[in-house]
Amino acid sequence: MTSHVIFSSELQKRTGVRATDVRARDYRSLVREITDRYEGLSPADVEDMSVAINGEIIAEPMLEKISPGSEVHFLYRIEGG
């Protein structure tokens, strides 16, 4: 089963699509999968971004597990005051 990745407007310019389904066990393999799939998208484009997996925002993702059926969003990194 796959997880559903939804790209921000900025990333859509690089992927050409709004969303895609990816088979990946963890965040690292998900990034590898989508950067292989979309020529215009490089790891550098997402390395400074946060990710939300099923609504849970992770500021500095790397090892996070991606369970089947997950919804994944890339976000601008959020800082506060």
């Binding site: 921000s8 407007s9 500021a59 890339f74 990194r77 959020i78 800082e79 506060g80 005051g81």
Partner: protein, 738 residues
């Protein structure tokens, strides 16, 4: 957790552990430390807003017998370090007050005098002081190498527009095609300062063996260590940063201004060096929050169903690209609303002002101000109650946000319902009085937090956290440890650890500390409980799972025996040594906090003077660990937002000089300007936190801008749009309308 829990200690209004020292003056702030042999450092600042530095001659200052050291940009070892040009300018000055050189002398007065001996030759350039000028085709360009990021087509010429952001969902054109009523307005907000009472200050000592110490006022001492070590090519292990008591930060003390300079001066002079900004310097060179120009367009059906929301946002960054909060501004602007079609385009613009710094919910107050003002006007156009309009379109669990993920359980509906049933909302208004309502949203963040709980021989515990306490976090940490260990709150004290005696923690900011550091406390306390049970088990010769921890005592479930924490800790030397628990986490699951505010304001039609008659702040805390501190955050955010709405602004001369760098002319609200701000704590638990906590520190500054803006507009019968709505602007609006 997802359901409300019963707590023994959490939710109580315990005595504030920081209160006594603060009110008696015993608390040690950044400027309070004096070291033997200490000298004073001062910064020479640019008198021009925009100029090329042709040369800097420090020879006369160096010859002064009272001067121990002089430095310029060239004395910073790592010339490629991030932020170096804001610490000391290199080839160009970009704002009035930009640091140019520094001296250390025998006294503060001698250092001040020596600054006048430094000769700087400038070629003055025309400054760019606002968004309109910066984006005009004939504007001077601040940075020849700045090409706008995020454009559809790669730009071929440099620009004052540093970046473009875009967010969208649905089909914005289709959304407006469905609309029967459309309201579109443009709003402006001024450059503002965080207004913390304690100026930036530090005392540093560079030791001959290479180990150095920085004592300073900061929201993040690990960040001070990283920045300073990078600029000065020092290994982090040789730099100990100690966070003093802090007299306010609000985002403005996340940055570094003085510490690397002071350490270079200390190294050059061989003396400890103290540096302290005066109030003028604080206003000129630290902060500020972005000025903005924001346009919002919202369409709705006649029954109040919003069909489309669109925004075009311009945010000043100050002189340094990347310094504005444009990203969060775009992400937050429409989040209180569950609307299918939304589109936001944002631009960051550089101008000849100080580099912008984070300011409480950075970016959100300005963009949400524009949205909330239009929502209130839309309610008028539709003949609907403004709270009913919000409830009809309210964001709730499952709402797909413009920035991406769906919301988990949030408390905006509960806040709106509380506002509608509040005494203030039902109270009648008189002539020249108006009421405003506004919502606010902030994400809140998690991040890295580290905590150690050291158990003492008498069974009490010392909590060492890495998060400087700005808003009462030490009390919250004590209460969460007490809850987890089932021991009285008074059994614990909490202190802020130095960078050399505690693992890393992110700064206090983003409303993260009670949430994230609190989770680290819970983890550390659970670690302590585990060890206490192991020691009790060893004492009774049973296994740890045969020991129950209840009401602060270990109970032998395999026989007779009860041991208190004091008994177990008192004999720790015989059972394996000191007991301490650790919690080192990278916290996830920060959950948003929504707020709704009500403002009643009276306007004197002859002078334009405003009086805030009544103000209610309602906000979702998830779970209020210490309700008194939570209410204090709601009131503090409200007070800052009211100031932003009604009075506060940087005033510049035509040649870019800041004309009001002081609290007399930059007027933050005084206690006598405000009514007692009423508060309502809504509690919809955050399922990702063991006690249900959400961050609450920042959201409270967002709604006041539109609540006050709408109240003033309603009081005078004229729609105002530009902040601050100060008396001269209000009076002009009244006169123009008549």
């Amino acid at each position: 957790m997802s359901e409300a829990q019963d707590f023994k200690y959490i939710g109580q209004r315990t005595i504030r552990p920081d209160g006594h020292d603060k009110v008696t003056g015993r608390a040690n702030y950044a400027a309070d430390l004096a070291l033997p042999g200490m000298i004073w450092g001062k910064i020479l600042r640019s008198p021009h807003a925009h100029a090329v530095i042709n040369s800097i001659n420090t020879s006369k200052a160096e010859a002064d017998p009272d001067v121990f050291a002089v430095m310029t940009h060239a004395d910073i070892p790592n010339q490629t370090a991030s932020g170096i040009q804001n610490i000391l300018a290199k080839d160009k000055v970009f704002y009035h007050g930009h640091a140019v050189a520094a001296v250390a002398a025998i006294s503060e007065a001698a250092a001040e005098r020596a600054l006048s001996l430094i000769e700087v030759d400038y070629s003055i350039l025309k400054p760019v002081m606002n968004i309109d000028d910066a984006i005009s085709s004939d504007s001077p360009i601040l940075h020849d190498d700045l090409f706008t990021k995020g454009m559809v087509e790669e730009p071929t010429a440099p620009s004052n527009v540093a970046s473009r952001n875009e967010l969208s969902k649905g089909d914005i054109q289709a959304g407006f095609a469905e609309a029967e009523v459309i309201v579109e307005r443009e709003f402006r907000t001024a450059t503002v300062h965080q207004g913390y009472i304690e100026p930036h200050a530090c005392t540093v000592r560079y030791d001959e063996d290479g180990h150095s110490m920085i004592w300073c006022s900061t929201q993040g001492h690990f960040a001070v260590r990283a920045t300073t070590a990078s600029m000065l090519n020092i290994e982090q292990t040789k730099l100990n940063v100690i966070a003093s008591e802090i007299g306010g930060g609000f985002g403005g003390k996340l940055g570094v201004y003085l510490e690397p300079v002071a350490l270079v001066l200390s190294k050059k002079s061989g003396r400890p060096v103290k540096m302290q900004m005066d109030r003028n310097e604080v206003f000129m060179a630290s902060g500020p929050g972005s000025a903005t120009r924001n346009r919002v367009k919202i369409g709705a059906k006649k029954d109040g169903t919003i069909t489309a929301m669109e925004a075009k946002l311009f945010y000043e960054a100050g002189w340094a690209p990347g310094s504005s909060p444009l990203g969060p501004a775009c992400m937050t602007v429409f989040t209180p609303y569950d609307v299918d079609h939304q589109y936001v385009e944002g631009f960051e613009v550089v101008v000849n002002k100080a580099r912008c710094a984070a300011y409480r919910a950075p970016g959100a107050p300005q963009s949400e101000y524009a949205c909330e003002m239009v929502i209130n006007e839309l309610a008028d156009e539709l003949g609907l109650d403004p709270i009913d309009l919000r409830l009809k379109n309210v964001a709730k669990e499952g709402t797909q946000t413009l920035y991406g993920p769906k919301l988990k359980a949030v408390g905006l509906v509960e806040c709106l319902e509380a506002a509608k049933s509040s005494a203030q909302y039902k109270a009648a208004l008189k002539k020249n009085q108006g009421r405003g309502v506004a919502s606010g949203f902030w994400f809140n963040v998690g991040g890295e937090s580290s905590v150690v709980i050291n158990m003492n021989e008498d069974g009490t515990g010392t909590i060492v956290e890495g998060s400087p306490d700005i808003g009462g976090s030490r009390a919250s940490m004590q209460m969460m440890a007490a809850e987890e260990l089932q021991m009285p709150v008074e059994s614990f004290s909490a202190i802020i650890g130095d960078t050399q005696n505690l693992p890393y923690s992110n700064p206090t900011g983003g409303s993260r500390t009670t949430f994230a550091t609190g989770m680290a406390v819970v983890e550390a306390a659970a670690d302590v409980v585990s060890q206490l049970k192991e020691r009790a088990a060893a004492t009774w010769n049973v296994t740890p799972d045969q020991v129950e921890w209840k009401d602060g005592t270990a109970i032998n479930t395999n026989g007779e025996g009860v041991l208190s924490a004091a008994e177990i800790c008192g004999s720790a030397a015989k059972t394996g040594g000191h007991i301490s628990g650790r919690g080192n986490i990278s916290a996830r699951g920060a959950s948003p906090s929504f707020a709704v505010h009500l403002a009643d304001i009276e306007v004197d039609p002859d002078t334009g003077k405003t009086t805030v008659l009544r103000y209610t702040a309602i906000q979702d805390a998830g779970k209020a660990i210490h309700p008194g501190y939570v209410e204090g955050q709601y009131q503090g955010g409200s007070a800052q937002g009211i100031g932003w709405a009604l009075n506060e602004e940087y005033v510049y001369s035509e040649d870019g000089k800041l004309e009001n760098p002081g609290f007399l002319d930059y007027r933050i609200p005084l206690a006598s300007d405000l009514p007692m701000i009423e508060t309502v704590i809504v509690e919809v638990p955050n399922s990702f936190h063991p006690f249900g906590v959400r961050g609450i520190g920042e959201t409270g500054i967002i709604p006041p801008l539109a609540a006050c803006g709408t109240a003033v507009s309603n009081a005078i019968g004229v729609r105002m749009s530009e902040l601050p709505m100060s008396p001269p602007k209000i009076l002009k609006a009244i006169q123009d309308a008549s």
